[in-house]
């Protein structure tokens, strides 16, 4: 999860979620950052609307609950 947390931290802080950013954050937290995992993360997030993905996550359980008759 550290890599995700780092990405979300950058996103929430209004920063660009890129390799350098994630690496800097992880390093500051004392994590020995794995370059290939960072690359994979950034590649996976390419084209993803993070804000939308997050708000869907918040809404989903409610929908489930409401839908149960």
């Amino acid at each position: 999860m550290e890599y995700i947390y780092a990405a979300l931290l950058l996103h929430k802080a209004g920063k660009k979620v890129d390799e350098n950013g994630v690496k800097a954050v992880l390093t500051a937290a004392g994590v020995a950052a794995d370059e290939s995992r960072i690359k994979a993360l950034i590649a996976a997030l390419d084209g993803v609307n993070i804000e939308e993905a997050i708000s869907k996550a918040a809404a989903a359980p409610v929908a489930v609950a409401a839908a149960a008759p």
């Binding site: 995700i4 979300l8 996976a44 993905a53």
Partner: protein, 282 residues
């Protein structure tokens, strides 16, 4: 119809006097139609109405005579008198009486030529009949009957007569054999005079479901107003406090105000967000 104003025999005078006496004792005087109600059932209805209403059965001419003597607006009831009218007295209001009378209605077998009060549906399945002419009778009445395993069976569920349609002699006959009693029989209120107004049955049928729904709505509205406008009452203050705290928690969680009471929820929110992103990244 002649109105005897003079020379009434003593028993007739007594009947008229009896109606007038009751009219003074009760706040409501009305007419009910006794048509087609067997004597036994009339007794049952009287018993059920004990303490709530009194029914006086007498000749129409005497009812008319008594209404005439009572005079005033009560006389307006006269035009509702029909062949089998009886007088009803009650201290309930006409809507309550109407409700009471509806409750005393019972189911009875249908006679040929009567109108179905609702769709009459014959359910499919076995009957208790042994094979015999009954199969033909059922079929002639439009009921899909057959013999199966030595028993008479209805092959499929069928509506044999629609609401409002006339029940034929053949159908009436098999309905009796099937022990189906589709007719609602009871006293029908023809009109009532109460507290200076004449009430006809058309206005007396109240939609109670609607009124109950309105009660619920009113309760809900009062609760909403009290809570949303923060008007404290003994009944709603707890809900108002809960709403205030929930709003405060909601604000703290949304705005990331790091307080002990909500830090769990903020962590939870961060966790869910992370899970959402993780599921995208894999």
């Amino acid at each position: 119809m002649a109105v005897y104003t003079h020379h009434l025999p003593a028993w007739k005078k007594d009947e008229v006097a009896d109606i007038k006496k009751h009219a003074k004792e009760f706040t409501l005087i009305g007419l009910v139609d006794m048509y087609g109600i067997p004597a036994q059932q009339v007794q049952q209805i009287r018993r059920n109405l004990r303490g709530k209403a009194v029914i006086k059965v007498t000749r129409n001419t005497l009812i008319e005579h008594a209404l005439g003597e009572i005079g005033g607006d009560t006389k307006g009831l006269t035009r509702f008198i029909s062949g089998h009218s009886a007088v009803i007295f009650s201290n309930d209001n006409p809507f309550k009486l109407y409700k009471q009378l509806e409750k005393t209605k019972t189911k009875m077998a249908a006679k040929a030529g009567e109108t179905a009060p609702e769709d009459i549906v014959i359910e499919k399945g076995p009957t208790s009949f042994k094979p015999g002419p009954i199969v033909g009778e059922l079929q002639q009445a439009g009921i899909p009957a057959a013999i199966e395993g030595g028993k008479v069976k209805i092959r499929e569920t069928k509506t044999v007569v629609k609401k409002g349609a006339v029940i034929s002699a053949k159908l009436a006959d098999v309905l009796v054999k099937l022990d189906i009693k589709p007719m609602d029989v009871g006293l029908a209120l023809q009109a009532a005079f109460h507290d200076g107004s004449l009430y006809e049955p058309s206005v007396l049928a109240v939609d109670e479901e609607k009124i109950l729904a309105q009660i619920q709505l009113a309760g809900q509205q009062a609760f909403n107003l009290s809570v949303n406008a923060a008007i404290p009452t003994r009944e709603t203050l707890a809900a108002i406090l809960t709403k205030a705290v929930r709003d405060a928690r909601g604000l703290a969680i949304e705005a990331d105000v790091y307080e002990k009471d909500v830090i769990d929820a903020i962590i939870g929110k961060a966790h869910r967000e992370s899970q959402a992103i993780k599921s995208l990244v894999k």
